[in-house]
C-alpha cells in the first residue's frame, strides 16, 4: 500500500512536469490554431540553453531561469516572426493553415540536426549538480527533490500564465485574438504581433520546463521527441488551449506511468495512456477540461 502512495506522489510530481512541458504547446495552439510540431525541439533548445547557462556560470540550476526565460522568449518570438508569419500572411483567409504544420515540422528537423552538428550526439548531464539524487524522506517513503521543485515550478508557472492572461492588457488581447481574429483586429489588435508574443510566451514556458527537467534528465539532440508525443497526448486529454487542462492531463499521464507498473508490466502503461487518449477523442473531443466552445 505504501508503495502505491509513494508511486502516486512521484507520479503527480513527474506528471506536473510533463504538464509543464506541454503548456507551451497548448498556449501556441490556443492562439495560432496550429499544432507546433517543433515543440519538442523548443524544449531541447531550452535544455541546451539551461545546460550551458548552468555549466558556464556555475550557478544553481534554477537560477538559469533568469537566462533561459528571456532567451527562449526571444527565440520563439523571432522564430514566429521570421519563419512562420509569412505563411500566415500568405494563407490569410485560412482559419487553420495546414502548411504551418509542415513548416514547424521542418523547423523540428532543422533544429534537432543543427544541434547534432554543433554539440554532437552525446548525452550530457550537469556535472556539479547540487540536486543530484537528492530525496525527501516522508516516513519510510522517498520523494525526489528536483521533481518536487519541478512540481512547484509547474504550479507557479500555470498560475502566473493564468493571471497574465486574465489581468493584463496583452493577456486580454491574446485571448480576444484566440477567440475571433477579425473582431480582434477591429479592436486595434495586430494579430501577427499577438502570434509573435504568444509564440514567445509558449517558448519561454517550454524553457521553464527545460530548467525543471535539467537536474534529473540528460540533454541530447533528440530529447524533445520523448516529450513531444507525450505533450500532444496531454494537451488533447486536458483540452487544447487550456492551461489547467495541460497540468491535469500531465498529472493523469504521470499517475498512469508511475502507479501502473505496480499492477502490470510497465510496457502496458503506455497502452493505457494511448487507450485513454483514444477514448477521450471519441467521447469528449474537446478534452477533459477543454471548453465546448469551438474556438
Amino acid at each position: 500500500m505504501l508503495y502505491v502512495i509513494e508511486d502516486m506522489i512521484n507520479g503527480i510530481l513527474m506528471g506536473s512536469i510533463y504538464g509543464l512541458t506541454a503548456m507551451g504547446l497548448t498556449i501556441i495552439f490556443g492562439v495560432l490554431k496550429v499544432i507546433n510540431f517543433a515543440h519538442g525541439s523548443l524544449l531541447m533548445v531550452g535544455m541546451y540553453a539551461a545546460y550551458w547557462a548552468i555549466t558556464l556560470t556555475g550557478v544553481h540550476p534554477y537560477l538559469a531561469l533568469a537566462i533561459v526565460i528571456p532567451v527562449m522568449f526571444a527565440f520563439g518570438y523571432a522564430l514566429q516572426n521570421i519563419v512562420i508569419k509569412p505563411i500566415f500572411i500568405a494563407e490569410k483567409n485560412v482559419r487553420e493553415p495546414i502548411t504551418v504544420i509542415i513548416v514547424t515540422t521542418g523547423i523540428w528537423y532543422i533544429l534537432d540536426n543543427l544541434t547534432l552538428l554543433v554539440f554532437g550526439p552525446q548525452y550530457r548531464s550537469l556535472t556539479a549538480n547540487p540536486l543530484q539524487g537528492q530525496m525527501f524522506e516522508l516516513g519510510s517513503m522517498f520523494v525526489s527533490a528536483p521533481k518536487f521543485y519541478g512540481f512547484i515550478i509547474a504550479l507557479v508557472t500555470a498560475a502566473a500564465i493564468h493571471l497574465f492572461m486574465q489581468k493584463t492588457i496583452m493577456g486580454r488581447a491574446i485571448r480576444a485574438t484566440s477567440m475571433d481574429r477579425e473582431a480582434a483586429s477591429l479592436m486595434g489588435i495586430n494579430q501577427y504581433r499577438i502570434y509573435n508574443v504568444a509564440f514567445g510566451i509558449g517558448a519561454a514556458t517550454t524553457g521553464i520546463a527545460a530548467v525543471a527537467l535539467i537536474p534529473f534528465n540528460n540533454v541530447f539532440p533528440t530529447v524533445g521527441v520523448l516529450f513531444d508525443i507525450k505533450g500532444f497526448i496531454i494537451v488533447v486529454l486536458g483540452g487544447l488551449g487550456s492551461i489547467s487542462g495541460a497540468l491535469l492531463g500531465g498529472i493523469i499521464v504521470g499517475l498512469i506511468e508511475s502507479v501502473g507498473p505496480q499492477f502490470m508490466t510497465a510496457t502496458w502503461t503506455e497502452a493505457i495512456v494511448y487507450g485513454l487518449f483514444l477514448i477521450v477523442l471519441f467521447v469528449k473531443p474537446s478534452g477533459l477540461f477543454g471548453q465546448k466552445h469551438d474556438w
Binding site: 486574465q166 492588457i169 486580454r172 488581447a173 485571448r175 480576444a176 477567440m179 475571433d180 477579425e182 473582431a183 480582434a184 483586429s185 477591429l186 479592436m187 486595434g188 489588435i189 495586430n190 471548453q291 466552445h293
Partner: protein, 236 residues
C-alpha cells in the same frame, strides 16, 4: 472637407464584385443610414471602410487622410470604429473584459477607466452583468456589449452594422434610443439597417443601396416619404 469621404470604390469577394463605383460622404456629427435589402452590399461597404476588405479601386479618406490602404488595426486607431454584423463578441470573456479589449487601441487606452465609467452610465445593464461571460447574455444585451465595446475605442465615427438584427421589437426601441444618445454626445454615426423606418427617423441623411450601387440619397425625412422607398422597404 467631410469627416469620411468615399470616392468611387469597387470591392469584390474573389471574383464576385459586390460594390460598384460607390461614393458616399459623412459630415461631422451627422447620423447617416445606409438602407437596402439583403445582398445590397451594405455590410461589405462597412467592411471596406474598416479595412477588413480592401477596395480594388477608389479612395477612402477620413479627416483628409487616405485610409483604404491601411490594415483594420490602424484604421480603428484613427477613430473609425466598426461594430460588426452579428456582434462578434469574445464569447468566453466577461462583459467587462470585452469592454476593456475595446479600448486596446493606443488613442483610447490611456482613458480606459474614464470611458468605462461613461459606457456604464449610458448602458447601466452592462455594469450589472460585468462579470458574466458574454456568451451567456441575451441577444439584446449582447448587442449592448457590442456597442459599448465600440464606444470604448473612443470613436469619432461609429459604424453600426444591423444593430437591431434578431431582436424583439421592444429591444429594438432600446437600441435605437441608445444610438440617439450616442449621436447626442457628438459622435458621428454611420448605420446599416434593414429596419428602415426606425433608422431613417433618427438619421439626418440616408443612402439607398441596391446591387452594390447607391441608387438614391438624400435627407432622411425626404427619403422616408419617397414613394419608391415606401413601396420597396416600408411595405406601404
Amino acid at each position: 472637407m467631410s469627416l469620411l469621404e468615399i470616392e468611387k470604390i469597387d470591392a469584390s469577394y474573389g471574383d464576385v464584385q459586390v460594390i460598384f463605383e460607390l461614393s458616399l460622404k459623412v459630415e461631422k456629427k451627422e447620423v447617416v443610414s445606409i438602407i437596402g435589402g439583403n445582398g445590397a452590399g451594405k455590410s461589405s461597404l462597412l467592411r471596406v471602410i474598416s479595412g477588413l476588405m480592401k477596395p480594388s479601386a477608389g479612395r477612402i479618406t477620413f479627416e483628409g487622410r487616405a485610409i483604404h490602404t491601411e490594415p483594420p488595426e490602424n484604421i480603428v486607431t484613427h477613430g473609425v470604429v466598426h461594430v460588426p454584423e452579428g456582434r462578434r463578441l469574445f464569447p468566453l470573456m466577461s462583459v467587462k473584459d470585452n469592454l476593456l479589449v475595446g479600448a486596446y487601441n493606443s488613442r483610447a487606452r490611456g482613458e480606459t477607466d474614464k470611458t468605462l465609467a461613461e459606457v456604464y452610465e449610458l448602458l447601466p445593464r452592462l455594469a450589472e452583468r460585468e462579470n458574466q461571460l458574454a456568451m451567456t447574455l441575451s441577444g439584446g444585451e449582447q448587442q449592448m456589449v457590442a456597442i459599448g465595446r465600440g464606444l470604448m475605442a473612443k470613436p469619432q465615427l461609429l459604424m453600426l452594422d444591423e444593430p437591431s438584427l434578431g431582436l424583439a421589437p421592444i429591444l429594438i426601441r432600446d437600441i435605437f434610443k441608445t444610438v440617439r444618445q450616442i449621436a447626442d454626445h457628438g459622435i458621428t454615426v454611420l448605420m446599416v439597417e434593414q429596419d428602415v423606418r426606425h433608422s431613417l427617423s433618427l438619421s439626418d441623411r440616408g443612402y439607398v443601396l441596391e446591387h452594390g450601387r447607391v441608387v438614391m440619397e438624400g435627407k432622411a425625412d425626404v427619403l422616408i416619404d419617397d414613394p419608391h422607398i415606401k413601396k420597396a422597404y416600408l411595405g406601404i
